[in-house]
């Protein structure tokens, strides 16, 4: 039942942007709408944990634990972004960067984007899953090219072309899956709930080929290296709140799609094939991103490469396959979404005050904006896996699983890259946050809605970091159930 609220509210809000004149009022209404979505998301998640799975809309929508979890993550980030957007868009309109009318366009696109992302975990049909993911690309391309500068249009073009090609390969993989399904003598269907129960009788060779296409295709969208080239461009050029959505949840929806197919593969031929591929791509992503993070000059690109790193960690977590690792990877999906959104909000505030992305030219953020500065400092430690924040817990779970699994080389590599990235982050942010203000800087106050968004996200980061050790048992139970399909 809650799913109708979750899908309906963004649509209603999108329609109502046509009738709203004042962007300021609309921002607040938008935010209230997403608060409702957040509550619906939480209650859906609770409901699914107790009931197992549910179908709605004549079997068009199918919800199980995995999809409810992803919907929950999206609703948390969407609410935070809606909250942050109020102040951000008002400031942009105030500074004359965008017109009042364009602010309306922003809210329209934002709602459509959220709707398409909520569709991804909710649909049952694997073909519709593809369509939903392609819709997220098409809509968010406008948000990447929103400022209409040379850089942003270039980023949007690269984004739309690279992701569309990637996703064509995913469609090829989907067709091969349906081919494997049709030659097994069953009736024609692409519904996930129909395919999974018969996964063990499907032709294994075709599934193997198909999964490679799926991994390359959706991996492009998820930002797995070496298919990640669109990601730093798009993340750095998008409107700041949208960067948070892109990095926090858009990448995760593609991970969700990979997992859906991965579960069919696991059921059909055991864990090894899936595990090897996921770990391989995860390690490559970590290696490439850590190199780029070390030498990075642009603040938002730095955060974008850090997203590639975290996607790598998540895919390693799923690849390890032990219940502890799966639980860690799922938690990491949530933790990274929350922490990275906070960092992008901070970066948005910094960029809009300093008017530049170059980290060498940004000095003394803590003096200029004490609240943002301290939040970014704490967020930086949270993002690089410092206790007591939540990412520390999920990373330690994955690492423990790696050691108990006996994959020592992989664990060592993971630790090595994590420490390199930690060092690079402390170096870059230390220079940026402290020091003296550049001459002639005018310091202005920070909007209240922005502060609230920071506090909301930060309470989740901190609270979960402290609460997690106590609820580990439930998590393991959930992960075990997920493994059973």
């Amino acid at each position: 039942m809650e799913i109708f609220f979750i899908l309906g509210i963004p649509v209603l809000l999108a329609i109502s942007t046509f009738f709203m004149r004042k962007q300021r009022v609309f921002g607040i209404i938008n935010c209230i709408g997403y608060l409702a979505v957040l509550f619906a998301g939480v209650s859906l998640f609770k409901g699914i944990i107790s009931t197992g799975s549910a179908k709605a809309f004549l079997g068009f929508l199918y919800l199980d634990f995995l999809s409810a979890f992803f919907i929950f993550v999206i609703s948390v980030v969407a609410f935070a972004v809606a909250l942050y957007s109020i102040g951000y868009i008002r400031r942009d309109v105030g500074q004359g960067v965008i017109s009042e009318k364009k602010a309306g366009v922003y809210y329209l696109l934002f709602n459509l984007f959220c709707f398409s992302m909520f569709m991804v975990p909710a649909v049952n049909n694997l073909g519709m899953l593809w369509v939903a993911i392609e819709m997220t690309t098409l809509i968010s391309a406008f948000l990447v090219g929103f400022y209409n500068s040379k850089e942003s249009v270039e980023a949007a073009w690269k984004y739309i072309i690279i992701c569309s090609v990637g996703i064509i390969f995913a469609l090829l993989g989907t067709i091969l899956f349906s081919y494997a399904f049709s030659i097994s003598g069953l009736s024609k269907s692409l519904n996930w709930s129909d395919i999974v129960p018969v996964a063990h009788i499907l032709d294994k060779d075709i599934l193997k080929v198909a999964f490679i296409f799926i991994l390359v295709g959706y991996g492009t969208k998820a930002g797995l290296a070496p298919m990640h080239t669109w990601l730093p461009d798009a993340h750095s050029q998008a409107v700041a709140p949208i960067s948070a959505l892109l990095s926090g949840v858009l990448l995760k929806t593609a991970v969700y799609a990979i997992l859906r197919f991965g579960m069919i593969i696991i059921k059909s031929m055991g864990f090894a094939y899936f595990a090897h591929l996921m770990i391989l791509f995860g390690i490559i992503s970590l290696a490439i991103s850590s190199g780029f993070i070390l030498v990075q000059k642009d603040l938002k690109r730095l955060l974008a490469y850090s997203s590639i790193e975290h996607i790598g960690i998540i895919s390693i977590g799923f690849g390890l396959g032990a219940p502890l690792a799966i639980a860690g990877a799922l938690l990491h999906v949530f933790n990274h979404a929350v922490t990275k959104s906070l960092m992008f909000f901070g970066a948005g505030n910094i960029v809009s005050v300093y008017k530049k992305h170059n980290m060498n030219a940004i000095r003394g953020v803590v003096k200029a904006m004490p609240f943002t500065g301290i939040m970014v400092l704490l967020g930086m430690f949270a993002l690089t896996g410092f206790p007591p924040f939540s990412i520390f817990i999920s990373e330690i779970m994955i690492l423990t699983a790696a050691f108990t699994n006996g994959s020592y080389v992989m664990a060592a590599l993971l630790l090595f890259f994590l420490s390199v990235i930690f060092g690079a982050f402390v170096y870059h942010f230390g220079k940026m946050l402290f020091g003296n203000l550049p001459k002639g800087m005018v310091v202005s106050g920070e909007p209240l809605s922005g502060k609230l968004a920071f506090l909301f996200l930060f309470s989740l980061i901190c609270g979960l970091g402290i609460a997690l050790p106590f609820i580990k048992k439930d998590l393991l139970w959930i992960a075990q159930r997920l493994l059973q399909g």
Binding site: N125, V131, G145, V153, I160, I161, V165, I168, P232, K297
Partner: protein, 211 residues
């Protein structure tokens, strides 16, 4: 009959690979889509499936008429140099295409279990079209050529889906058509913007973002 139609699909793809100028490429795409339309119509009459008639109709309306029309309109409106900007000249492109055809034949003989020759060749042609689309996207500098390359890849997938798995479920097929159409419109919109900001549509020169 089916064999002849498949052959024309193959021939039209070769036509696109050696095209040097924009209108020729769009014409090639139109031929290819028309052949796919004929193929679907033929299959519809053979199997007597009403769904397939609707899909064939959509194919005709969208890919044979509307999308080429839109692309022609873009060329006229932006008044840009109609050359595609080839990284690889037509002769070499032709050689590449031959290699791709051979590779996709090998690939499909390995993938298919039954040894029906028509099914294998259909699969090979579908894979070849996907590869040719990718090749067009990589080896041509014009942004419009990238859009067409994407559409060609999608055509290949359509052929693949309708041969090996007897077509996607009906409403998925409709959704994909809609999706392709929307993506062409949006990409066309971005081509306008690129042309306005950069005064060219040469993607090779889009290199402001690095690192």
């Amino acid at each position: 009959m089916q064999g002849i139609i498949l052959f024309t699909v193959l021939a039209s793809t070769y036509l696109m690979v050696i095209a040097k100028r924009m209108p020729a490429l769009i014409r090639g795409f139109r031929y290819q889509s028309f052949c796919l339309f004929a193929f679907t119509l033929f299959a519809a009459s053979g199997h007597d499936q009403p769904d397939l008639y609707i899909i064939a109709g959509l194919l005709f309306v969208l890919k044979v008429s509307l999308i080429p029309y839109l692309l022609y309109r873009i060329i006229k409106r932006i008044k840009v140099n109609e050359d595609l900007g080839l990284f690889i000249n037509p002769q070499l492109s032709l050689l590449w295409a031959l290699v791709f055809t051979y590779l996709s034949w090998i690939f499909s003989t390995h993938l298919i279990i039954s040894n029906k020759i028509t099914l294998t060749s259909m699969l090979a042609i579908a894979f070849f079209i996907v590869l040719a689309g990718l090749f067009l996207m990589i080896s041509r500098m014009s942004a419009l050529a990238q859009i067409i390359g994407l559409l060609v890849m999608e055509n290949g997938l359509f052929l693949l889906a309708s041969t090996v798995s007897g077509g996607m479920p009906f409403f998925v097929e409709i959704a994909i058509f809609f999706d392709v159409f929307v993506s062409v419109v949006i990409m066309g919109f971005f081509v306008y913007r690129i042309n306005k900001l950069f005064t060219h549509i040469d993607v090779n020169k889009l290199s402001r973002l690095k690192g």
